[in-house]
C-alpha cells in the first residue's frame, strides 16, 4: 500500500510564504527531495490569488482590496483569481504519475485528483460533482475551483474550497468579466458560488474539513496516511522562492517562472 503524507503547514498572515511553500512542496516531490505523495491543507487570512497568466490589475479591484487590507499574490498555475479568507480551505496534492490508473491526459488528471475532494464532501453531507473540467458544483452553485500542473512524472492539483468565505468581500475585490458572467447567465459572481455553510445550514469547523479531505484522498489513493512537518528541503526551497512571491515583477507584471529559476537552481540541480 502506498503512503500519503499530510501537511497542515500554513502561514495565513503571510500569503507570499504560503504560495512560496505551495510551489516548494510540489518541486520537492518532483525532484525526489521528499519520498511520499503529499496532501497539503492550508489557509490564507485575507488575500487575492491570481492565476499564472493573469495581470492583477485586470482582475482585482485595488481600491476594494486596500479597504479590506488584503494582499495580492500570483500563483504558479493557470486559471482565475480567487479570494481567500479563513473561511476558505485550500487543498493541494502532489503525486507521482505512476499512481494513476492508466496513461492519463490532462483532462482525466483533473477528474482523478478532484475525486478526493468529492469523496471528502460526501463525508460531510454534500453531494457534489465535477463540472466544466475543474469546478466542483453542488446543486447549481460552485463551491470549489482548482488548477493543476504537471512536470514529466509528477502531478499537482490545488483547489480552494468555500467553507464559510465572506462572499460579499469576494464579490467586492474580484473583477469578473462581463463576458464570463454572461456565459454563466448570472449578473454577479455572488450568484454562481456558495459556501458549504450555506448549503448545509450549519457551521463547519476546520477539523471537520481536514478529516474529510484526509479521508477522501486516503480512499482515492488507497494509501496509509501520516501527518508530517515540512522537510528541511521544502522549507529551504520556500525560503528561496519567497523572494519571487514577494516581488512586484511576479505578482503584478506577470513575469514568467523561468526568470526566477536561478533562486533555486543549486537545490534542484
Amino acid at each position: 500500500m502506498s503512503r500519503l503524507r499530510i501537511l497542515l503547514y500554513e502561514t495565513p498572515d503571510d500569503p507570499y510564504r504560503n504560495l512560496a511553500f505551495e510551489e516548494a512542496f510540489f518541486l520537492a516531490r518532483h525532484y525526489d527531495l521528499t519520498k511520499d505523495d503529499t496532501l497539503r491543507i492550508w489557509r490564507n487570512a485575507n488575500a487575492v490569488i491570481v492565476g499564472y497568466f493573469q495581470y492583477a490589475k485586470e482582475e482585482v479591484r485595488m481600491d476594494a482590496l486596500e479597504r479590506i487590507g488584503a494582499k495580492v499574490v500570483r500563483r504558479f498555475t493557470g486559471g482565475g483569481a480567487v479570494y481567500h479568507d479563513l473561511g476558505n480551505i485550500n487543498y493541494a496534492i502532489t503525486v507521482k504519475k505512476e499512481i494513476l490508473p492508466e496513461e492519463t491526459l490532462v483532462d482525466s488528471l483533473y477528474k482523478f485528483l478532484l475525486s478526493g475532494a468529492i469523496n471528502a464532501l460526501r463525508k460531510i453531507g454534500v453531494e457534489a460533482r465535477i463540472e466544466n473540467v475543474n469546478d466542483i458544483v453542488a446543486g447549481d452553485r460552485k463551491i470549489s475551483g482548482c488548477a493543476a500542473k504537471y512536470m514529466k512524472n509528477t502531478l499537482f492539483l490545488h483547489g480552494a474550497l468555500l467553507v464559510s468565505t465572506d462572499l460579499s468581500k469576494l464579490a467586492s475585490v474580484l473583477k469578473i468579466s462581463k463576458k464570463k458572467l454572461a456565459d454563466k447567465g448570472v449578473a454577479s459572481v455572488k450568484y454562481r458560488v456558495t459556501t458549504l455553510t450555506n448549503l448545509l445550514g450549519r457551521s463547519i469547523g476546520y477539523d471537520e474539513i481536514v478529516n474529510a479531505l484526509v479521508e477522501g484522498y486516503r480512499e482515492l489513493l488507497n494509501a496509509d496516511v501520516y501527518f508530517d512537518l515540512p522537510s528541511r528541503e521544502e522549507l529551504l526551497l520556500a525560503q528561496r522562492l519567497y523572494k519571487k512571491y514577494t516581488s512586484d515583477e511576479w505578482n503584478f507584471e506577470r513575469a514568467p517562472s523561468w526568470k526566477f529559476k536561478r533562486l533555486i537552481e543549486d537545490i534542484i540541480g
Binding site: F53, G78, N134, A148
Partner: protein, 95 residues
C-alpha cells in the same frame, strides 16, 4: 504604431490578447487570462515568436499553430488562441 485588444470566452477560460503593431511588424503581443494550458511556458514562447514577425493574419495563424502544436488545452483549443490573437492584430492594423 497601432494597438489592438481582443478577448474571447472559450469553453473554459477567458483569453485576452493585446497587440502592438509598428508598420507591418508586430512590436509585441501579450496573451493573458484565466485559461489553463500545459506546459504553461508555451505562452511566453509564443509571445516571443510573434514579436517582430510580420503583422499578417495568415502569418500570425501559422506561428500560433506552430508554437502551440504540442500544447494540451484545458477547455480551450488552438483555434481559440488563433482567433483571439489574429483579431487583436487586425484591430491594431486598422487603428
Amino acid at each position: 504604431m497601432g494597438e489592438g485588444y481582443y478577448e474571447y470566452k472559450a469553453k473554459k477560460g477567458l483569453i485576452k490578447a493585446k497587440a502592438m503593431v509598428f508598420g507591418n511588424r508586430i512590436e509585441s503581443i501579450i496573451i493573458s487570462g484565466d485559461f489553463m494550458i500545459h506546459p504553461e511556458e508555451s505562452i511566453w514562447e509564443l509571445e516571443k515568436a510573434l514579436k517582430g514577425s510580420i503583422a499578417d493574419p495568415n502569418v500570425v495563424e501559422q506561428v500560433v499553430r506552430e508554437k502551440l502544436n504540442n500544447v494540451e488545452f484545458i477547455g480551450s483549443s488552438v483555434d481559440d488562441f488563433v482567433h483571439v490573437i489574429k483579431k487583436a492584430v487586425e484591430v491594431a492594423l486598422n487603428e
